[in-house]
C-alpha cells in the first residue's frame, strides 16, 4: 500500500473499469511492449492497469486515462529494466517463417518513439490519433515518427517505398 492512501474496503471491478480495461489493455500492452520489449512491456502494462484500478476514482476523471497509464507503465518498465536483465526489444522471432529476416534488427535500431509509432500504426493498425493519445503527443507527431521509422527500415532492408 502506498503512503498517503487508505484502503477503505474491497469491491469488485466496477463496470466502468472493466470497460476501460477491455478497451485500453491491447493498445497499452502493445505500446509498452514495442517500447521496452515483449516481456517487460506486458509486465509494465499489468502493473499500470493495477495502478489504474487502485486509483480509479482519480484516473477515470482524467482527460486521457489511457495516456496516463502509459506514463505509469513506462515508469514501471524503467524500474524493471534496472532491477533485472534487460528485455528492451521485441523477442527473437527471426526463426519464425512469417518473420522478415532483418526486420527485428531494423526495429531495434529505431528510436523508442519511432519503434512504437511504426509498430502500432503500421503493424497493429491503430490510427495516429489513437497512438498519439497514448503517447501524449499530437497525431502529426506520431505520423512523423512513423514515417521516419519506416524510412529507416526501408533503408535497412534495402526495399524501395512501396506504400
Amino acid at each position: 500500500m502506498r503512503a498517503g492512501s487508505v484502503a477503505v474496503g474491497s469491491e469488485a471491478p466496477s463496470e466502468t473499469f472493466t470497460e476501460f480495461f477491455r478497451e485500453t489493455e491491447p493498445r497499452l500492452r502493445r505500446a509498452l511492449a514495442a517500447a521496452v520489449g515483449g516481456e517487460a512491456g506486458r509486465e509494465a502494462a499489468a502493473e499500470a492497469l493495477a495502478y489504474g484500478w487502485e486509483h480509479w476514482d482519480r484516473v477515470r476523471s482524467m482527460g486521457n486515462p489511457a495516456g496516463y497509464l502509459y506514463r505509469v507503465g513506462r515508469s514501471r518498465a524503467r524500474r524493471l529494466r534496472r532491477a533485472g536483465p534487460e528485455v528492451l526489444v521485441p523477442p527473437r522471432v527471426a526463426e519464425e517463417p512469417w518473420c522478415e529476416p532483418g526486420l527485428r534488427g531494423a526495429l531495434e535500431r529505431l528510436s523508442e518513439r519511432q519503434r512504437v509509432a511504426v509498430m502500432l500504426v503500421h503493424g497493429f493498425g491503430y490510427t495516429t490519433t489513437e497512438v498519439g493519445d497514448l503517447l501524449g503527443v499530437e497525431g502529426g507527431t506520431v505520423h512523423k515518427h512513423a514515417a521516419r521509422g519506416l524510412a529507416k527500415i526501408r533503408a535497412a532492408l534495402g526495399v524501395v517505398a512501396d506504400d
Binding site: R2, S5, V6, A7, V8, G9, S10, E11, A12, P13, T18, F21, R29, A33, E39, R42, A45, A46, L49, A50, Y51, W53, E54, H55, G67, Y70, R71, R74, S75, R78, R82, E86, L88, P90, P91, E96, W98, C99, E100, L103, R104, L110, E112, R113, V118, M119, H122, G123, F124, G125, L135, G136, V137, E138, K144, H145, R148, I153, D162, D163
Partner: protein, 418 residues
C-alpha cells in the same frame, strides 16, 4: 510478401503472441493480493469555513510571498531565464531577467496572448521569448525584453526564422536552428532574421543534429553515418571531418576541446567515448557505462566543469516526460542515473503533461524545472544544484500546470531532437 506494411503486420502478429493479453483477473488476483482492494485518498473535512477577512489576509500574504520568490531566479548577467505559463489563465506567471534587468519589472502582464512560451535566447543585451501557441506550427510573435524592463511583442515577418529548437546568443547575434528545414538563422534584434547561407559548405547533417562549440570552433554532427563537420570561423564555413564509426549520440565541449559519445562499431548496444582537441582528430577513450540502452533521446549535455556533466534525456515540449538525467564526474566515461522523475514525484506516478521537467546550466550551477503542480508532485518547482546530486529549491510551482523551459545565455552545447 513484398509490402513492408504486410511484413510489419506479420511481425506484430507474432510479437503479440510473445506478449499475450493481460487478463483482468490477473490484475486483481495476482497483483492486488487476491482482493480487489481499491485505495481511496482520505477526504479532507473542514469543520468550519474561514471568515472572509481571514481568506483575504491569507491571499495577500500569498501574493507577497509569490512575488518575492520571483526575485530568487536572478542569476547574474548570463544567468537563467525561466518563463512559465498557465494554460488555465494563459498568463505567464514568472520569469528571471537573467540579463541584468530588474526581475520584478520584467514580469509579463498586459498583452500576453497565451500559449506556451518557448525561449529563443538570453544574452547580455537581448532576451527573446517566442510565443508558441498550442497547436501552432510555428510561433508568430517574439517577445523582447526592452531596456525599459518591459516585455513587448513583435510580429515576425519571416515565420520560417522562428525556431522550434531554441538557440543561443553568440557574437552579438541570436542564432537559431530550425529543425524541420535544417536551416540556421541569426538575428541582431530578434525580429529581423537572416538565413545563414553556407552555400556549398552547408553541412549535410541529418537530424537529430548534435552541436558543440568552443570559442570560434563549432562542431555539427549527426545522422546514422556518424557524420561530423567542423567550423573554425564561428559557423561561416564547415569542413568535413572523419565520420565516427557509429551513430553520434552526443557531442559536447569541455571548454578546451570536445568529447563525443558514439555507438560502438564492434558491439551492438554499447557506446564509446571519444575526445578531440580541435574537432578534427579524435581519440577513442573506451567504453561508456551506466547509460542503459542506446536509444535515449538525448537532448543536452550540460557541462559544469571540464569533467562533470549532466546529460538530460528528455522529450521536448509537446511530448511526454520519459527519460532521466544522468550525471558523470569523470568526463563522460561512467554515468549515473539520478532518477529525477521518481525524485520529483517522491515515488508517485509520473507526470503526463509536456515540459514537466527540463534542465539548464549556467555559472557552474544546474537548474532543474519540474512543474505541473496540478498533478501533485511533492517536489514541483525550480531546483538548483552544483553537483547533480544535492538539489536546493530556488523557486516554487506558483500555479497549477506551470510549464516552461529554462534557457541559458551561452550554453556550451545545443542539440536538436525530432
Amino acid at each position: 510478401m513484398t509490402d513492408l506494411r504486410q511484413r510489419l503486420e506479420s511481425f506484430c502478429e507474432g510479437f503479440d503472441g510473445a506478449a499475450p493479453p493481460v487478463r483482468i483477473d490477473e490484475v486483481f488476483e495476482e497483483r492486488l493480493g487476491g482482493e480487489a482492494v481499491r485505495l481511496v485518498q482520505p477526504r479532507l473535512r473542514v469543520r468550519r469555513p474561514l471568515p472572509g477577512w481571514a481568506v483575504a489576509v491569507i491571499a495577500a500574504v500569498l501574493v507577497v510571498v509569490m512575488a518575492t520568490i520571483g526575485f530568487l531566479f536572478a542569476r547574474g548577467s548570463d544567468g537563467f531565464l525561466f518563463v512559465a505559463a498557465t494554460p488555465e489563465t494563459t498568463e505567464p506567471v514568472l520569469l528571471d531577467a537573467g540579463s541584468g534587468f530588474d526581475a520584478a519589472a520584467a514580469l509579463i502582464t498586459d498583452d500576453w496572448p497565451g500559449g506556451y512560451p518557448e525561449r529563443l535566447g538570453n544574452g547580455t543585451w537581448i532576451t527573446v521569448v517566442s510565443d508558441w501557441q498550442a497547436g501552432a506550427v510555428t510561433p508568430t510573435t517574439v517577445w523582447i525584453l526592452e531596456e525599459t524592463g518591459r516585455w513587448t511583442p513583435h510580429e515576425v515577418a519571416e515565420l520560417r526564422a522562428v525556431p522550434l529548437d531554441g538557440g543561443y546568443v553568440r557574437g552579438g547575434l541570436l542564432w537559431a536552428w530550425v529543425f524541420h528545414t535544417s536551416e540556421v538563422w541569426n538575428s541582431a534584434d530578434g525580429v529581423t532574421w537572416r538565413l545563414v547561407d553556407w552555400g556549398s559548405a552547408a553541412p549535410p547533417v541529418e537530424p537529430p543534429r548534435r552541436l558543440a562549440r568552443t570559442g570560434e570552433t563549432i562542431l555539427m554532427g549527426g545522422g546514422d553515418g556518424g557524420a561530423l563537420y567542423v567550423s573554425s570561423d564561428a559557423g561561416r564555413s564547415f569542413t568535413a571531418s572523419t565520420p565516427f564509426p557509429g551513430t553520434l549520440r552526443h557531442l559536447w565541449s569541455t571548454g578546451e576541446g570536445f568529447r563525443a559519445i558514439v555507438d560502438s562499431a564492434d558491439a551492438a548496444g554499447t557506446i564509446d567515448l571519444w575526445r578531440s582537441g580541435d574537432g578534427m582528430g579524435w581519440e577513442e577513450m573506451g567504453r561508456v557505462s551506466g547509460l542503459g540502452d542506446a536509444n535515449l533521446s538525448w537532448r543536452s549535455a550540460l557541462s559544469i566543469s571540464s569533467e562533470a556533466l549532466l546529460l538530460s534525456d528528455l522529450d521536448g515540449p509537446g511530448s511526454a516526460c520519459d527519460g532521466d538525467v544522468y550525471r558523470s564526474v569523470d568526463g563522460g566515461r561512467i554515468w549515473q542515473a539520478l532518477d529525477i522523475v521518481e525524485w520529483l514525484t517522491d515515488g508517485g506516478p509520473p507526470f503526463l503533461q509536456p515540459a514537466c521537467w527540463s534542465v539548464a546550466s549556467a555559472d557552474g550551477e544546474w537548474m532543474l524545472v519540474g512543474g505541473y503542480a496540478a498533478w501533485g508532485p511533492p517536489r514541483a518547482g525550480v531546483w538548483g544544484s552544483r553537483n547533480g546530486v544535492d538539489w536546493y529549491r530556488i523557486g516554487s510551482a506558483l500555479a497549477p500546470h506551470i510549464g516552461g523551459n529554462p534557457a541559458v545565455g551561452d550554453p556550451t552545447a545545443v542539440t536538436s531532437e525530432p
